[in-house]
Structure formats: structure tokens, C-alpha cells
């Protein structure tokens, strides 16, 4: 199922997947930096594969990771001051890293059993996309500070982008997919620019465990 010869793109898919382990367990300033690296790699990959696929419209997808990589520091500061976030303990970091590793192994183990559109090399892309989605969801669910959650959400979106990029070469889907993906950005933008800043302003808390007003 996996390609017998490794191309630079294949190596980047694997590196993309591995990078997210660090994102899951790193401190917030490092997470922001790693997210920028990840988005840069994703932009290159998107550009590469859409050009190979012969679909120039797919290049528009490059704008998404580039845009988020460019604005992530500003978004993080808009939500709250990253310096105020209490760093994880060593034990929790190790636990997060192990969880990330487990999810990536899971993603690579499951992928050969899933169908891929476009042959062997698509398997690695699907595995990397799955890894991004799974680790993004985990970061979103288990990291307790708002900025890490924001980065988890963006990693999920990167996974979604990589997933859609695997089918965007199908000409009849291109226009619909592009419109859908760009309008979908309203969801993360609502979360990052409307809900999270309002939440940190009204509760003066960055730790989501402290949001307990609505229990019962």
C-alpha cells in the first residue's frame, strides 16, 4: 500500500505527522512557532501536489495555512497573553507526547485499510491528514488553556485541508470544495476571534477547567 520509492513530498507528509507530537506537548510559545512551521510545510505540500495534479485552482488552498501561519501570533495575543499561561508539568508533557505518538501510529496503521483516491502515494497523505485531525482533536480536548485549544483547532483545520487536497484534483469537485472550504473558515474564525476573546475577557481565566458557571 505504501510507496516503495520515497519522494520529497512523502518525506514531508511523514514529517508533518511527526511534528504534531511536539505541538501536543509543547509550551504555548513553542506551540505557536511549531504551528507556523507546520503551516509552512503544508503550504509547500499543497502547492506541490496541486501543481502535479494539474489543477491550478487547488493552489488557492495554499492561502489557508499561509494566512493562519501569518496571523497566529496576533490571534493568540487577541485571545490572551500567552506569557500568562501556566506551562505543563514534565509528567503531563511526557503523557501528551506519548498520546501523540500513539495517535500517529494509529493513523498510519488504519490508513492502509482505507480507500484513497489517487494510488499509492495518497496513502501517506491520508495518514498525515488523519494524524493532524486526531492530534488536533486531542489538543483541542485535553489541553486546558485557550491558546493551545486554538492551535488544536487550527491543526484540525490543517488536517481537513490535507484531506480535501486529496480529492481536489477531481475536476467536478474543485469549485464546490473550494467554496465550501473557504466559507468553512467562518467556523474557526468565529471561535478564535469572537468566542475565545469574549470568554477570556468575561471570565478573566485562561484555564478552561475554571469555566464552571454553567454546571448543573
Amino acid at each position: 500500500m505504501f510507496p516503495t520509492t520515497i519522494s520529497p513530498a512523502d518525506l514531508m507528509f511523514v514529517a508533518t505527522a511527526l511534528l504534531v507530537i511536539a505541538i501536543l506537548s509543547a509550551s504555548v510559545p513553542v506551540q505557536i512557532f511549531l504551528y507556523q512551521v507546520l503551516s509552512g510545510m503544508l503550504a509547500i505540500l499543497t502547492l506541490w501536489t496541486t501543481l502535479i495534479g494539474g489543477n491550478a485552482w487547488g493552489i488557492l488552498l495554499t492561502l489557508v495555512p499561509v494566512g493562519f501561519a501569518f496571523f497566529i501570533r496576533w490571534i493568540a495575543r487577541y485571545i490572551a497573553d500567552p506569557a500568562k499561561i501556566v506551562p505543563l508539568t514534565i509528567r503531563r508533557r511526557i503523557a501528551c507526547a506519548l498520546l501523540g505518538l500513539l495517535l500517529i501510529i494509529l493513523a498510519f496503521a488504519v490508513t492502509p485499510h482505507l480507500p484513497t483516491y489517487g494510488g499509492e502515494s495518497s496513502s501517506l497523505r491520508l495518514a498525515a491528514a488523519l494524524a493532524l485531525v486526531l492530534v488536533g482533536i486531542c489538543t483541542w480536548m485535553i489541553r486546558k488553556d485557550l491558546i493551545s485549544q486554538a492551535i488544536g483547532l487550527l491543526v484540525m483545520d490543517d488536517g481537513l485541508l490535507l484531506l480535501s487536497e486529496s480529492v481536489v484534483h477531481r475536476m467536478e469537485l474543485t469549485s464546490v470544495l473550494l467554496v465550501v472550504l473557504f466559507l468553512y473558515l467562518l467556523v474557526p474564525l468565529t471561535c478564535l476571534l469572537l468566542v475565545m476573546p469574549r470568554l477570556s475577557q468575561t471570565t478573566l481565566e485562561l484555564d478552561v477547567d475554571q469555566f464552571r458557571q454553567l454546571r448543573g
Partner: protein, 522 residues
Amino acid sequence: MKLTHDILEVLVLLMLAGPLVTGIFGFWLPRFSLTAGSLLSLGATLFLAASAPAELPLHFTFGLNFYLDALSVYFLLLTNLVAVFSAWYIDYLGTRDSELGSGRALRRFRALFGIFQLTLILVPVVNDLFVLWLIIDLTTVISVVLLLHGSAPHAAEAGWKYLYATIPGLIFTFLAMILLVSILPANTALRWSDLLQISRGLDPRLISLVFVCALFGYGAKAGLAPLHTWLPDVHGEAPAPVSAMLSGVLLKIALFALLRWTSITNVALGNRVFTSGLFLAFGLLSLIVATLAIPKANKFKRVLAYHSLEHMGIIAFGLGIGTPLAILGALLHTLNHGLTKGLMFLTFGNIRHRYATMTRKDPVAAGGEGMAKVEILSSDEDHIQGVFKAMPASGALLGLGGLSLVGSPPFSIFLSEFIILWAAIRLAWDGRSAIIITATGIFVISITLIFGGLISHLAKLLLDVPPSFVERERWYRLWPLYVLLGLVLFVGLVMPIAGSLGLWALLDRSACIVLGGASVCR
């Protein structure tokens, strides 16, 4: 009446026009324009429902690719019915209810509500799965904006919990669609109309996986346990008409998307055992969670939200039983619950506002008849008691709506719950399956306990001694809520003996579509 496809297309576009115009121009349009737009939309839907079942499915392109079958029309009917009454609340009581803002904020709220209604109407009529997914995403965005619009102190927390619970599900649904694209032949667009034709030949294991992903995604939006965590927070914090739309319509619209996936999966697998089993599990879990949560002391809007969980559980239970009768009952229950929950949230919204006025300000000094704009605090709910004495008309509406909600005869929810229970007992009797017998037992125990739970909450609100300052309400001003109560009674009383009404035919065809797609139902 036989209508040509051209006329049907115009009707669909008219239905979209009302909320579209109020969405775009609502900020500048006069008061009651939202109600007028919703009425136009409802009128077009009623016309479609009454005249068109034989002409469906309808398939046309007008900017978007539209696809309407009986199931679409049924969900459009539900959406527009609840929307009309919610729109009336905004137009009529919005000038007094501080949760909706005032001046420019209220006008902005009206426009946003129009867009929200438009997105909800679009879900049942779009043909493309990606577009449907996008519109469901947009309903999330707009409902969060509407939630944050209100003056509720914890709205941001509720909005965050909403996104926290639903975003991963939406990503999983996207994954489901990509997997589906990967197993379809090349040059196949991801459209319901095409998928129903070609799904028979698809790999059963992969289709099952795709359905599970979609179930997690849309199940979270439909508020099925264990993905329901956002439900009490959002319904509890949102302004009354938004709560009515979220509980009465949005949950059902997410269920609609899930039903489309169910049809495809059933056709692909050649049976409905897999989808029924999952619905049964999610339904029972929802019922159990609601049974544990409802009797606890809580704010009434949160109790109503847990009731939504219960009723989504009942609907999923009906889908899980999986016989044509049970599915018909489940679909009827979506309408009954939507109407009753609309009545409850809107009536309680009015009561909350009136009590806020009573407990903090002398309304006569402020302009009489509670016209003053008093900010509603969450602590106001603690003072709400003795509603029967303080506000007899609203108290009666809330009491009767509550009786309907717990499934008392002769209200409509009793009818749909009875149909589902009857179908479950018949299946248990015929098949002698231990699982179905146990599930039916849990269903009966659960709805019995919940009955007691809600009645005790209602007794506290309606009876007891009202606050010392009692302001008279003008009962005739609430006439649209009487109409809504009348509808709830109508479905319960008249539907069983009025077989000729178009609703049964619409329901029957809708159930058939869920079982195996429109082509089976010709």
C-alpha cells in the same frame, strides 16, 4: 392540484425569499417584517406540502443544486412553523425583552435571525453533501453569534462549550465525505440524488465506517448523548426565540442530515440492522442521561434543554426500532417536539421578562404594562413562582405545554410516543428479541420518571406564592402562542381520525425514504 415543476421551483424560491430578504435587509425593514417573511416562507411550504407529494422528488439548479423529496418538505414544514412563532416573539416582544437588545442591536438581531432561518431552510433542500455540511457549519456560526448577542452573563462560556462539542464532530463528518468520495467511481458528484442510485454497489465495511463518522458529527449537532454536553448550556443562555429555534428546529435539522446518510447506508448495506442498532444505542443512552438529569434542581431553561435530550432519545429510539411504523412515529415526534418546545421556550421567555420587571421595577412608573426594558439576570429565575396567580394566561400555556411535553393525552407528543411504543412492543412480541424487550423496558421506565421530574419543576413554577408585586398581563396579546398550543392539540386530537389530511401521506413517504430512498417509494 397538479403543479408543474416550474411552479414548484418558484414555490421553493419564494420559500427562501422571505428569510433571505429579512436576512439582508432586516436591519432597515420595519417591525413585523421578520414575521411577514416567515409567513411567506410557511405559506409556500404549506402549498408544497399540500400539492406536491406526487410530483416529488424535485430536482433543479438555481445557483445551488436543489433536491426536494417528501422528507425535505416535512422538515421544511417543521422549520417554518416554529420560525413563524419565534419571529412573532422577536417582532412583538423584542421591544421589551432586553435579551434581544434594543434599537440598532435589536434590528441587527432581526437580520441575523433571518439568516439563521435561511440556513435552516437550506439544509433540507440542497443536493450536494459538501454544501449541506457547509450550511450545517454556518448554522453553528450564526447560532453562536445570536447566543452572544443576548445579555446572558455566561453566553461566551456556553458558546465555547457549543463549539468545543460540535467542531470535532464536523471534522469527522468531513472525513466521512472524503472517504465516500474515495470509494465512488470517478466523476461522481457527491449528491443525494446520485448516491441513492449508486450506493448499492459500495463496500459495506467502508460505508459502515462512513456512517459512524457522520453519526458522530451530526449526532453532536442533534444533541444525542454522549455528544449532548453543549445542549443545556446553549439552550439555557440563549434568548427565548433562539432557544426555541435551537431546540425545536436545529436539532431536527441535524437529524435530517443524519437521516440522509441513513438512507444511503441502508441501501448500500441492503438492510437497516446496522443503522438501527446505532440509533437504538444512542437513543437509549440519551434517555438514560436525561432521566438522571431532569429530576435534579436546575434552572428551568436547562430542564427544558435536558428534555430536548430526552426527546431526541425518543426519536433515535424510534429510528432504532426501525420498522416503518416506528420511523413514522419518530418523524411525527420531530414535528410534535418542535412545536411543543417552541411553545415552552417562548412562553417561558415572556414569563421571565415579566418577572424581571416585577421584581426590580414598578412597571406602572416605567410606562405601564411592563413596557420598560429591564435587563434579565440569571438570578431572576429564582423568583419565578406562582405563575398561575401572577400571569394566568402564560401560566396556563406553560402548564398545558408542560403536560404535552411529558406525553400526556390528548396532546400530540402522546400520539407519537404511543406510535413508537406500539411499534416497539410489536417488534418485541414478533421477534422475541431480548435486546428489544430490554430497550422497550428502559424506554417506558425513562419516560415515566421524566414525567415525574418535569411535573415537579412545573409545580414549583406555577403554584406557590407569587412575588408581592403582581402585574396584570393582557392575555389576548399572546394569541399566537394560543395558536401554537392549538396546533399541538390539533395534531394530537384530529390527526388520528383525519386520515385524509396530507400530513399522513407526507409522513408515510418520508418514512419510506428513510428506509430506502425515494426510488423505493414511487
